[in-house]
């Protein structure tokens, strides 16, 4: 395992050492995990897709594991790169979207309602 440089990296070549080094000591993700995640994301993966994704995600996770090297104690996360106060909108109702337009792209509709197949499995809430 060749870790990325510690938090005070020296000058030359850092960016490109990162390119070449993959932290690949132990498996970070396995096919069962990929299937669980795919399920959460409502994606259906075939058996070879699962294998391929597992390998690709493994490589990517190995790469991003470099962040573990950084000491971030006490560092506030930046969720927004800008510092602005919350914009507020006056409570004034505007005319709603015409229902025909709201439904215009609907794959299936009945009157002005969207139609979806019935929930058959317990997994849909």
């Amino acid at each position: 395992m060749r870790p990325l440089p510690r938090s005070e990296p020296t000058a030359s070549g850092e960016v490109h050492k990162a390119r070449r080094r993959y932290v690949a000591a132990m498996s970070r993700i396995n096919p069962a995990e990929v299937e669980r995640i795919a399920d959460l994301a409502r994606l259906e993966l075939g058996a070879d897709e699962v294998q391929r994704m597992t390998a690709e995600l493994e490589a990517i996770l190995g790469y991003v594991a470099a962040l573990e090297q950084l000491d971030t104690t006490g560092v506030e996360p930046t969720f927004h790169p800008i510092l602005v106060t919350t914009p507020l909108r006056d409570d004034v109702a505007a005319p709603p979207l015409d229902p025909t337009r709201a439904l215009a792209n609907a794959p299936e509709r009945s009157g002005t309602a969207f139609v979806v197949p019935k929930v058959l499995d317990e997994d849909e809430r």
């Binding site: 850092e14 995640i37 994301a41 990517i60 962040l67 971030t72 560092v75």
Partner: protein, 490 residues
């Protein structure tokens, strides 16, 4: 008589004002060139009727002595993820096949208010996820300098449209470099404004805290016009900045004396194509001759930017793309139950790269991993932001290569996603920090364009445009153009 295809928008403006050409003619020529350049795959949808009608309206205004803006009557193109009312918006994805927008995006509304004539929608990587425009249901977009190579991505189509002389100005989006990197590969100017400078209302979201719409043009002065047309506060976007938009065109004084350009040592290290680094160093030297000063700076956390980026961007994307479920719009797969419908629709509708990023993003946010990955990446983001703040104490802008190499061959990197991700190595930091960046052509390596990237303080687009413009006044890279080998009949 056909105008020079590589004419700038400013020159077109002068010709229009002098009555030497009409908007109708300009638009007609754009449309014809777009058709003739089908092989480039730059456009996915042309809007001839609408464009002609808008051109006529622009000409009528001009006859009355009215002019909505410097862009009034000028043909432009927009990336197929900018929502335009009444037009299809597919984001180059199967899952949005057939979707026609019932509302207007703000940037498009501003362009229309400026009188710019949108001739069509350009090709892109699906949902803006890619660096080569190879992940599109419409097929690859090609680099006008060498159609066997990619134009870069994800805004490959817009970059190609400008580089090929189809339109003088096009718009794209930049989340990790998707404007700057294709600009570099196609030898044009491309700019990502500061986060919040341009409204995201109507920009189909990839990564909400990183996305920005920005312009492509062949010159910095055209870029200034384009940015002015779309920048500004939007009450419909809660992340939009309130600050007034300065006079970008007016800032192009051509003078860089006294400006200090920082060169981060981490960006000029081994690993990039040495010839690319050489072009960039030469460009900076040119600026020194013009009166700027340089100094070495350090962005010590640069090696971690890609890792942080791919955790944050994919996490946000996994959530942003949950709405594509076949219920209210877009493609819906055949299914007997709701669960089956969701899975089939999304599996059939999304390409492999999009799926990969959704999976990664879902993983990063999932229980047990949030702190180690997502939150950690957000902390690293703070460190990157501080790096820039520190660097900008000692310089006014930062110069780097835009990309580590010149345009690569189609198919060269598609087998290794991580390899593809590393194309963004110089560009992602700007998105993470929210600062503006642009790429300006600064030479060639083996006949392929190289881009100089300039990064600035938040809301200091004016300085970047000024420096790029000054550079273009003492160089002529931007006046070199590809041979239109893609055109049928020559």
């Amino acid at each position: 008589m056909p105008r020079d295809r590589f004419e700038t928008a400013l020159a077109q403006r002068a010709a229009l004002d002098a009555g030497r050409v009409s908007s109708a003619e300009l638009v007609e020529q754009s449309l014809a060139r777009a058709e003739a350049a089908a092989e480039l795959g730059a456009f996915v949808h042309l809007q001839p009727e609408r464009a002609r009608a808008e051109a006529r309206a622009a000409d009528a205004r001009r006859a009355r002595g009215e002019r909505l803006s410097p862009l009034d009557g000028i043909p432009v193109a927009i990336k197929d993820l900018m929502v335009q009312e009444g037009e299809p918006c597919t984001c180059a994805s199967r899952i949005l096949e057939g979707f026609v927008a019932p509302y207007q995006g703000t940037a498009v509304a501003k362009l229309q208010a400026a009188g710019a004539v949108i001739v069509g929608r350009t090709n892109m990587d699906e949902f803006a996820m890619g660096s080569s425009n190879e992940h599109s249901i419409y097929g690859v977009a090609r680099n006008p300098w060498d159609p066997a190579r990619t134009p870069g991505g994800s805004s490959g189509g817009s970059a190609a449209a400008v580089a090929a002389g189809i339109v003088p100005i096009a718009f794209g989006s930049d989340t990790g470099g998707s404007i700057r990197q294709p600009a570099s590969h196609c030898g044009v100017v491309g700019m990502k404004p500061s986060y919040g400078r341009v409204s995201r209302y109507g920009l189909v979201a990839f990564a909400s805290s990183l996305d920005q719409i920005g312009p492509f043009a062949r010159t910095a002065s055209d870029c200034a016009l384009a940015l002015a047309a779309i920048a500004g506060h939007d009450p419909a976007d809660s992340t939009s900045l309130l600050e007034a938009v300065p006079d970008y065109a007016g800032a192009l004084r051509g003078d860089v004396s006294g400006l200090v350009i920082g060169m981060p040592r981490e960006y000029f290290a081994e690993g990039a194509d040495p010839a690319v680094l050489a072009r960039v160093r030469e460009a900076v030297a040119e600026l020194e001759r013009a009166g700027a000063k340089t100094r070495e700076v350090s962005l010590p956390h640069a090696p971690y930017a890609i890792a942080a980026y791919y955790l944050i961007a994919t996490a946000e994307a996994s959530s942003n793309l949950a709405r594509y479920d076949g219920v209210r719009f877009g493609r819906r797969a055949q299914a007997r139950s709701l669960g089956e419908m969701y899975r089939r629709t999304r599996s059939e509708g999304f390409g492999a790269e999009v799926k990969r990023r959704i999976l990664l993003g879902t993983y990063v946010l999932s229980a047990g991993y949030y702190d180690a990955y997502y939150r950690k990446a957000m902390q690293v983001r703070t460190l990157l932001r501080r790096d820039f703040e520190q660097a900008f104490r000692g310089c006014d802008l930062i110069a780097t290569p835009t990309a580590p190499e010149v345009a690569f061959r189609i198919g060269e990197k598609t087998a290794d996603p991580l390899k593809m991700y590393l194309s963004d190595i110089y560009t992602v930091s700007a998105n993470l920090a929210g600062i503006p960046g642009l790429s300006v052509p600064c030479g060639f390596v083996n006949g392929l364009p190289v881009g100089l990237q300039l990064l600035g303080r938040a809301l200091d687009e004016a300085t970047l445009l000024r420096v790029a413009d000054a550079y273009q006044r003492c160089t002529s890279w931007h006046e070199q153009h590809p041979e239109p080998s893609w055109e049928r009949g020559g």
